[in-house]
């Protein structure tokens, strides 16, 4: 399927190896289940049937995804396909119940929604105004769905323009306020720092100077309208060094994050599925 050109014999040996490993693993689990059943005859310590099915399903799906590390294989592809389908459906269901129902349908047909979906929906003091205003996103939403029909797909540019406009309007002021002015304000601090008793604080001063020099040198590096030669070039080089330290730190933190994710999956496999290391 993926165009590999292995000779049949090594492929058969590999298949035999996987089948043997699977059979050995299944035998060990059956043995373990039998031992556990003997130790707990009343079944008090066991899980419900659906939880057990769930744990096994999750474990097999986890192993399926991890099998990609060895090589691409049909087991991984099946798990990937399930993930795509389930993800798309999950986002759609969530969007329907958390946004479309309360924000759109509840305004277009409040009585029907109250009777069939949201019995606690409060009465609106302005139902007609709500209805009229809700027609706008309804119309825009239908236009957006027209994107799926090539002949009238151009109409989807209207709601897309609205989404872009709202985002641009939100970002324009917030980015200047929080990401520009606030950051400049945080940078432009007194270069000489003093502690609460009024004594000169050496390390705080060093930190403040490093902050000011760092921000200015990195901004110089990103200023491409002037050629990076002479004093500008040296400042830009210092800016690159600051950026390298920044990225080195970011790498270290990223590693921690990724390892944590993997550790959690191993914890599930060992403790919840196999019952070891708990």
């Amino acid at each position: 399927m993926n165009g590999t050109t292995e000779t049949p014999r090594p492929k058969q040996r590999l298949t035999l190896l996987w089948i043997s490993l699977a059979a050995l693993g299944a035998s060990l689990l059956v043995l373990r289940a039998a031992v556990a059943a003997q130790a707990d005859p009343t079944g008090e310590a066991t899980r419900s049937l659906w939880t057990t099915v769930g744990v096994w399903t999750a474990a097999l799906l986890t192993l399926g995804i991890l099998s990609f590390l060895f090589r691409d294989n049909p087991f991984y592809k099946i798990c990937e396909s399930i993930l795509i389908g389930v993800s798309a459906a999950y986002w759609m269901v969530n969007a329907f119940w958390t946004s479309l129902v309360p924000n759109l349908f509840a305004k277009l047909a409040p009585t029907l929604v109250r009777d069939t979906m949201l019995p606690s929906l409060p009465e609106s003091p302005t139902p007609i105004a709500d209805f009229v205003l809700a027609c706008v996103p309804l119309l825009l939403g239908i236009m957006l769905l027209c994107r799926l029909v090539p002949s009238v797909g151009w109409i989807s540019s209207w709601p897309i323009a609205m989404v872009i406009g709202v985002t641009a309007g939100l970002k324009l002021v917030s980015s200047i306020e929080s990401d520009f002015m606030a950051q400049v304000g945080a940078t432009v601090q007194p270069a000489l720092a003093f502690d609460a008793s009024g004594s000169f604080a050496f390390w705080a001063t060093v930190g403040a100077l490093v902050g000011i020099i760092g921000v200015l040198s990195v901004l110089t590096y990103f200023f491409f309208s002037v050629e990076h030669k002479g004093a500008v070039g040296k400042t830009a080089r210092l800016g690159i060094w600051f950026l390298m330290i920044t990225f080195g730190g970011a790498f270290g933190l990223t590693v921690m994050g990724r390892i944590t994710l993997l550790a959690q999956r191993f914890e599930f496999l060992f403790r919840d599925w196999l019952g070891i290391g708990g």
Partner: protein
């Protein structure tokens, strides 16, 4: 003439590296390796920010992450909920990520109901649930919370819930905490929440290691405290448990549990980087000698 062993490492099948990484995490988990934690300034600042909120005040906890990031963020979320409840703060839960609502529900079940059974829904805590719209949600909540959330997550009108019946905008909350895995998250809370009303409430955030670089510029002026990845979670857990111990430390101790494999895996990363460079040098020397 054959290449040196170090030079041959340049052609190493990466599956051996995968195996080494797998073992470096699996073995510490099986052996239950644990190491002491020493809280840093950011974790202490987060702890102090929550301690500074007067008893009985209302706080907003935004669960802006999904199961993919729960390994890093759930420990700090659990510790934060326990800390707020131990300080007798009223808690309003919400989520900017669809799956965040489920994470919040799980935390309520495992932490709030387990360790603080006296907390009543509607008067002590409320679950508003998820709203789509990303930063638009925060923007609207900054001026009009009831317009954004007409009902809680189970469809009950906000006017029927005493805790949130009188809430008009974000200034009703003394503290806003965002446990975030990306967009939208803590950054948007700073930009649109703190930006809209800078002095009305404090913001603290918890984030994954990947996202923390984007949040560093906001600390400590716009964000009073920040928990950085699972290490920050472990440090914060330690501070919270020291002052407010629980009967089941394993529930508020997952961060410290997950720090066990970190040491071995980090040492492996360093070893891989060093070996890779030695292999490069050996390969170059071999090429130079020829």
């Amino acid at each position: 003439m054959s290449d040196s062993p170090l030079a041959r490492l340049n052609n190493l099948d990466r599956r051996w590296i995968f195996l080494a990484m797998g073992l470096s995490i699996a073995i510490p988990i099986l052996l239950k390796l644990r190491f002491p934690e020493y809280p840093g300034p950011m974790a202490r600042a987060t702890f102090n920010a929550v301690e500074a909120v007067p008893e009985g005040s209302t706080v907003l906890l935004s669960f802006d992450y999904d199961p993919a990031s729960a390994a890093e963020l759930q420990p700090m979320a659990s510790a934060l909920v326990h800390h707020c409840a131990a300080r007798k703060l009223k808690i309003v839960f919400m989520a900017l990520w669809p799956l965040g609502k489920k994470q919040a529900d799980g935390t309520i079940d495992r932490v709030l109901k387990e360790f603080h059974p006296g907390y009543q829904y509607g008067t002590d805590y409320v679950q508003l649930g998820f709203q789509s719209g990303n930063e638009g949600v925060i923007k609207l909540m900054a001026t009009n919370v009831p317009e954004q959330y007409k009902t809680d997550s189970s469809g009950t009108a906000l006017t029927s819930l005493p805790l949130v019946a009188g809430v008009k905008d974000l200034s009703a909350f003394k503290l806003v905490a965002s446990i975030s895995a990306g967009y939208p998250g803590a950054k948007e809370w700073v930009q649109y929440g703190n930006g809209a009303m800078p002095e009305a409430f404090s913001i603290v955030g918890g984030s994954t290691g990947v996202q923390v670089s984007q949040l560093l510029p906001y600390y400590p002026k716009q964000m009073e405290g920040m928990l950085v990845a699972v290490k920050g979670a472990a440090e914060y857990e330690m501070l919270v448990e020291q002052k407010y111990p629980v009967a089941k430390p394993e529930v508020i101790g997952q961060g410290r549990v997950r720090m066990g494999p970190q040491l071995v895996a980090h040492l492996l990363m360093i070893a891989l980087i060093v070996l890779g460079n030695l292999a490069m040098i050996a390969g170059r020397s071999r090429g130079g000698a020829r």
